[in-house]
């Protein structure tokens, strides 16, 4: 039951959610419903005011609530950002390689070039290929199109080889073709990852999600399969309106 307060505002109120491998779990809701705050709490960027976060490590469930963000990231919680959070003055490949480096940091090996670490290179190549950024590898990340920057966001997250993907609006501002590609990628990642997808594109969400949770004013008012969410009267009033 996760809660986060900002002064008097309850940004997220007693959310109780579960994310499983081989499941795309979409979280939808109006702007300000607390979706990004939820991701920030799960990834460790914000600490929860109360409640706990468990992460499966092998067979055991480990309480990671008190872990700082970088420890959670290394334990397999990868995230992407709603607003592009890249390294604009580095090349696309270096953006991804740098993130991959976090898995094998070995910072004390000061005499070896960063670009000679085979682990990071391999992980970066892979992330570059699955996100379809191969053509752009040598470009400065800051000069990419908006859609390509969104792809890069996801590639940087994948490069850290996470088991849980916390994706904050990966489709925002993408063209139809780019969106389609991203959805295919998410479907391909599904069997090996637990995916939390925060997204405003309802067509995409209802097409790809296995489970949908609806947030209103910081509270999860429903969490169910897409078919049942579509039929839920409370959800229709609060969010979906005429869409469903």
């Amino acid at each position: 039951m996760l809660t986060r307060r900002f002064e008097g505002l309850l940004a997220v109120n007693q959310a109780n959610l579960c994310f499983k491998r081989n499941e795309i779990h979409a979280v939808i809701g109006t702007n300000g419903a607390g979706k990004s705050t939820l991701i920030n709490m799960l990834s460790g960027e914000l600490m929860a005011s109360s409640g706990s976060i468990g992460l499966r490590q092998g067979e055991a469930m480990v309480d990671v609530s008190a872990w700082p963000q970088y420890v959670r990231a290394r334990a397999g919680l990868g995230r992407s950002y709603q607003r592009n959070t890249i390294f604009p003055e580095f090349t696309v490949f270096e953006n991804i390689r740098l993130c991959a480096q976090a898995v094998h940091p070995r910072a004390w090996v000061w005499w070896q070039r960063a670009t000679q670490c085979p682990h990071a290179l391999q992980a970066a190549e892979q992330a570059l290929h699955v996100t379809g950024l191969v053509q752009e590898r040598a470009r400065m990340a800051g000069t990419l199109s908006h859609g390509a920057k969104r792809q890069l966001e996801v590639a940087m997250c994948l490069a850290t080889q996470p088991q849980v993907l916390l994706l904050d609006e990966p489709l925002a501002g993408m063209g139809a073709q780019e969106s389609e590609r991203m959805l295919q990628l998410l479907a391909a990642l599904k069997p090996s990852h637990a995916i939390l997808l925060v997204e405003h594109d309802m067509d995409a969400v209802f097409r790809i999600a296995d489970r949908i949770s609806v947030m209103v004013n910081g509270e999860v008012i429903a969490s169910d399969t897409p078919a049942l969410i579509r039929g839920n009267p409370q959800v229709r009033v609060a969010y979906l309106g005429d869409w469903a």
Partner: protein, 313 residues
């Protein structure tokens, strides 16, 4: 070999042969420039590479210099290697303390906290008799290294010059290698986007602390060389305007490369030497702070990316 490397090699050849063709005054000035270049290089690791603007870097220079003098025996030469090591360790240790406390803050708060810690160190030397108070203390005999088959005595100006050149070259090349390593790549990532580095799984605090301690220890090394050259130390070495001056060197030279630090230190020192020369400028020389300040403003206006920025356009 790239164009920059060729220029580097030519400059090194010029510096290495300088004692053969230059006057004693020029050799002395070159020694000073190289020591300040090492000092600027150490700050570049924080400012230009990691994006940490510290306004207290002179504290580490001063601590290195004071340690050299205080640990030297009264009437004979101290051990060069031991004093060099002690200067680095002492400055590095203070950097560890300052870093642990200051790196929790960011931006302007970081600037103020580093300044406060430097002022603290300044007043320890200024207001206590530990290092001779506000007058400072003299180093009676410069450090030397005596081993079977090796005799290095910094009382010899040529030895001092050669030693400073070798230390600067080693630091410059070593930092160049470091910047291309995983550690260096992470520091640059922190400068551009620390939030993303944490999200990827980097313990950014540890990286910044390591950089801060390394920069402090290198500044301590510069302090050791400065004390060995001048044979006197006083609290002004740790004063905030010294920290400001080394920041100006970086801004003047350019923040985006190690070369910028070397170029900036050279330009700043020569400019100061020129503007305070009574032989050249007469009575205007007395107001060198004013003319230096105006020159720096002009440089920043016409070369916003520093002197190194000119070669890129």
């Amino acid at each position: 070999m790239s164009k920059h490397r060729l220029v580097d090699a030519l400059l090194f050849a010029a510096l290495a042969s300088l004692p053969l063709w230059a006057s004693g005054y020029v050799q002395d000035l070159a020694t000073k420039v190289m020591i300040l270049a090492l000092f600027a290089l150490s700050l570049q690791l924080l400012v230009g590479v990691t994006g940490l603007v510290s306004l207290g870097h002179a504290a580490f220079l001063g601590i290195g210099a004071y340690v050299t003098v205080l640990f030297s025996p009264a009437n004979e030469a101290g051990n060069l290697l031991a004093l060099m090591l002690a200067s680095c360790v002492a400055a590095g240790a203070y950097a560890l303390l300052v870093g642990v406390l200051s790196l929790r803050t960011q931006g302007v708060y970081f600037i103020m906290v580093t300044l406060a810690f430097a002022q603290m160190a300044y007043f320890v030397f200024h207001d206590t008799q530990l290092g001779g108070g506000s007058d400072g203390i003299y180093l009676n005999v410069r450090p030397a290294l005596q081993m079977p088959g090796v005799m290095l005595d910094l009382e010899n100006k040529l030895t001092l010059y050669g030693g400073v050149l070798i230390v600067l070259l080693t630091a410059y090349l070593g930092l160049g290698v470091l910047l291309r390593s995983r550690f260096g790549a992470a520091l640059q990532g922190i400068r551009v986007n620390e939030q993303r580095m944490r999200a990827a799984g980097f313990n950014t605090f540890s990286y910044k602390l390591a950089a801060f301690v390394l920069a402090g220890a290198l500044a301590g090394l510069a302090g050791f060389l400065l004390a060995s050259k001048d044979a006197v130390v006083n609290p002004e070495l740790l004063a905030w305007h010294e920290s400001g001056a080394v920041l100006l060197m970086l801004i003047l030279g350019g923040l985006h490369s190690l070369r910028g630090a070397l170029v900036g230190a050279t330009a700043f020192t020569l400019l100061k030497e020129l503007l305070s020369s009574e032989a050249l400028l007469g009575s205007v020389a007395a107001h060198w702070q004013l003319t230096l300040g105006l020159s720096v403003i002009a440089c920043v206006v016409f070369m916003p990316r520093g002197i190194m920025g000119l070669s890129k356009t």
